[in-house]
Symmetry: D4
Subunit: 207 residues, 8 copies
């Protein structure tokens, strides 16, 4: 394993025992920093009995070891359309932080609250990368993409009802964005967005 780079475990569908086992094996191989995504509260409690683990229940993320040391110069902004997109946004934000990035959160700035977005233009403009998280009509990604000149990673969320189709409407909206510089990851894939944002941000040079 590369020195200093955190290891990642995808917790979904793994038992608490399996997760603990993988964490221990990684530690034995020298991993100092481990990120566990999609981790249930039960699994977190079980692992905490053996190892120090920082658990975030809303994005279901567990973090083992030293963290939040910033290794890249630029800043990543995570914006959400509504408050219901919080869990996915935090999966992205925490992933980016664990991977050594400074992250600024701009939550609940979707089209229903466009003035809040416009009131925070300065924050947006300083970003090296923006992660735009939105469900329902997913317009946030296009609006942000039309305002900034940096890469925008769009994350559709499964939040919504009716014709939101579990995130498909937001996904399609984002893929069709008329703003240049926008690309899309899978529905609810906060981790993927955070990981890619960190990759791009680190291209901008180390601290």
């Amino acid at each position: 394993i590369r020195q200093g780079v955190p290891e990642v475990i995808y917790g979904q569908g793994k038992t608490p025992e399996q997760i603990l086992g993988i964490v221990k094996a990684m530690s034995d191989r020298g991993a100092e920093n481990i990120l566990i995504t999609r981790m249930s509260g039960d699994a977190a409690e079980f692992v905490q009995e053996s190892i120090a683990l920082d658990y975030h229940p809303i994005p279901k993320i567990g973090i083992v070891g030293r963290c939040k040391e910033v290794t890249a110069q630029g800043k990543i902004v995570v914006a959400t359309g509504g408050t219901s997109d919080l869990a996915v946004a935090e999966e992205a934000a925490l992933t980016a932080e664990v991977l050594g990035n400074e992250v600024e959160r701009l939550y609940d700035v979707g089209v229903a609250g466009l003035h809040r977005l416009l009131a925070n233009l300065d924050v947006l403009m300083q970003a090296k990368v923006v992660i735009a998280v939105a469900g329902m009509e997913g317009a946030l990604a296009s609006v942000v993409g039309g305002l900034v000149d940096c890469p925008v990673i769009a994350v559709p969320t499964s939040i919504g009802y009716g014709a939101s189709f579990g995130g498909v409407s937001a996904l399609l909206s984002m893929l069709n964005s008329c703003a240049s510089g926008v690309s899309v990851v899978n529905i609810d894939n906060g981790f993927g967005a955070g990981y890619l944002a960190s990759m791009i941000n680190h291209i901008g040079g180390a601290v």
Copy 2:
């Protein structure tokens, strides 16, 4: 037929001869104003040989008789995301004008040109009804809906490529709009939007 209210012919799939026949029958019954939608250039030329007809080739609309007398107090704004949405927007605008409405056009003000929309906020704010016409990601309807307090009629267009799926992405985006006061008509149905906008505008009282 109601006095003064224009008659409508849906031209799609009708031969030039059939259209002329219907126009003549309507005139005989006393219709002073006839709107023909989805009318081919050939049909227009054929009808023009017998009857005075004002033909608009882009929205494929033909108008027979006296027109554009404004009968409602309020104003209808027709906004489009891009220039390619013009044909559908004009179908809506001309329909509304023939039905006695003052119409203001705000074209090419989609999220890729958000500043152009913001620069025209005053026009938008004076509308009694807004018709938002957009293809691709269809975000315009949500953005407009978040800004104004009047009814917004969203018209998805089939403009686009790839995952725009002939207007389905824009349609879904519009149905999922988080802004209140937005409702949706069929893909490319400029006529339906213009007709409904006129209904609503006339509720606001006659000139």
Copy 3:
């Protein structure tokens, strides 16, 4: 906030504590009338311990403060295809009432009971706006749209089984309506329909 206009809280996915908090904050800012949609029975009970709240369990709506003062001249008719569409219809009707409209209900008048609809034509004809709520084949919106001359807001419901696809069939049917003046909101979006109907009805002038 605008004086006298009710505030709206979307209750879905908010904890009882969060809802109470928002209600209190709104009251502090002077809100006299608050509408809470998609509110669970538990949340209602929790809020009722602190504040007077009128709760409607079927549409899951909670109302705080003075209400039902009619501020618009016209009447809104809410029609449903079957009895199973009641919850969505009541979301629409109560929303419209809280927003100051007189509402008349015509339930269970779908195509399986067309005679019941025809027997109530006078009620339908007096409406300034009609909200047509229907699941399954969603034909009610077209039938109503073919009968009346006012705007019809169609609300597809997720009621049904098999090829009703959670409201998609009704949605498509409504979008394809051959009757002029029909527009559509999201599946089960009774609130959106009630809000838009109120907007349109108020264009018709105050009481």
Copy 4:
């Protein structure tokens, strides 16, 4: 082959030569009456050079031999939503006639012209079977099914644009019909509807 029962050729994708060949072979085996569906005008002209053929260009049907002798007591009503559904309706009507049924046509009686349908209730009520042909929102089948007590065969047509999806919206609407006694055949399958209607009508007894 059964005596007196017409033979059927599905013309789509067959060359004029192939069709003529099959017709001749059938005649040689004693067929007195042959129905050719989806037959191009070119194929019809080619066959007519060798054999007497009655060709209907709109439904693209060719008929060889003696025909229209009524062999069943009951009457089949073919109703359409609009004038654009004519080709499919005629495929159904001519098929039923060739198979020995009395057929009554009620065209353009969809929800946009509901009064025309209601004005013809007596015709509808006398039917042994109704074939309801409609595109767009396909509400005709439900409306008819709610009015009559006999089997209704619903035929969705590919007529329409936007969210009509080549007949899928009408198909779904018809499958979800809340009226009892309605069943559905493939989009544009006028032949299938006419054939089934004839089967059912003949159960009612010979002339």
Copy 5:
């Protein structure tokens, strides 16, 4: 209500109390025979405390009053592809029986057991109408339609997994049937098939 014709209640989404109320009201109006579909076991037990009710737990059907008196000459055959289609098939069969038809069951004769179908050709050939109930690939309807000369009512079921998509694959397969005389009802709509089969069978004349 028509004398002797059973009344039908759609039990889905109705409380035991509501169902009992409707049953009592129907009895008071003189109904001698009531069919309740989609009725839960709880509802059945509750109703049975007040009124004699024959309950069938697998198809969830309750029957009140005198029943199974055969009023039509012909026979209806209900065939299923597999044993898992039983509930839907019994909904169809019991509906047809309550409506006065003789019903013969041919279960588990799908393409995986084609020999069982061929071994029962005589039963199939004597039918006035066949109801073909199948999930997964839904080929039964086509196979039966290719063998018999009477109307085949195809009922897709939601039985299956993976690409069966809750009955959509069977539905599509049945709509595309190359065999003449096949029509389709909604997924899992055994009631609709039984009702339509009874309609057709009674056209064949009373006992």
Copy 6:
């Protein structure tokens, strides 16, 4: 390149010049036998000017060099539901023949002509592999799979109209086959089926 094994060129989207170039290059490298699929008639004519090429216009296949030497013991049966599936079936059959297999054709034996299939059971039973080619409802694959004990390769075709959705209905039907031993290739992929059938047949041993 392996000695004696034919080379394959996918002709779709290649110019006549490109195809000739590839053919010449392959010949220079020692290829004795070249199969060109999806080859236009124009391309065939162009290549034939320089090199001997056996062209089959219906499946659009060109064959260069020595061919049809049988190298496997077993026999491959190619069956089709209708005559319209011929082009795809021939793509499969010719591919298998070029690859050294004995191929028997059973065309037009779908469910509408089930007796023809049953009349040829002996041919079917002697197959080492069966390729079942069908559009519309695609039931042929299931019926064949229920009869034989060898691998069945199902090829859905895009033949059909309405709800056949360009082969999707047949594809879904085939994927849901209840008969064991059935697997599926892409819509219209006769080449893929012929290639796989040859692979399997050669496992059975050389001549």
Copy 7:
């Protein structure tokens, strides 16, 4: 029943009592080896009270009687993209083993761990048939198909989230495979893949 060939019971939707009944009936008819798929733990416990049964909880497979006697010369390799595909892969592997095949497992060798696949090329190359089991993007089937020269049976799994759509994305990816020799079975259909692989492997000759 054929001597020595195992019988198969599809356990899904059958009660423990039903399964035991079928097992006993099969034993009475002389079956020495019975495979039960989709069998719940409860059913397994219930059957084990009466009869010796080897139960595998992850793939939910029960095996009665003598087993794992290898009757074919070749080897089947079962490969998976990730660890979450294990249950489906084991359904395939155990089915193949019960049917008399030697099976080698290559788990967790998807594109995220391509090096692990390349490190096991020798195992892959010795296979007579490969079963490629993968969810999410399903690329494993194409990668394997591009490497080996034997038949590849692709099994999409419903593992994944968001735009994996319960296995549909993997299914489509596999159907579109550009590698020759790949065919596909239903989502999660491990049994079908194992059964077909055994068929093909036995064509290669007995031990």
Copy 8:
């Protein structure tokens, strides 16, 4: 306009006259470098009569002015699955070159030619960003993403037939990629990929 940064015109649906007009206006405002995408050959010829324009017929790209001056340190690799993906890949590559990037092309290295990809691992490993262009099963993006540590921009193409659904299968495959660092743009959106790649590459610092 920003100095030195090229202007972009989306040529689709614009007449030659309109394009020339926009080009002249941009030049007048001082633009030295203009990229025109989706430009027809006719439009190119028309513009070339007035202004020097470098036209690329396969990706339909026109370039006005000074170009290809490299302004970023890193290298962008554009890889394609097959030769048919060339047009989209060149749209991406030329866009990136016009925007000041060094671009390396790796064409026809999809899973059917995996060895060609592995043979070029060194090129891939030196990339700052990779653009992976593929149709059909779209596996290239996942394979590349599993090999490299830099951002991968996946571009699904509409190349393919049958279940490729105009690029949807490739799109879904790419969205579900199990490899980290992969994001997706619209089907056939080579321009968007090239633009985003340039943005990311320039974050890595100027030459």
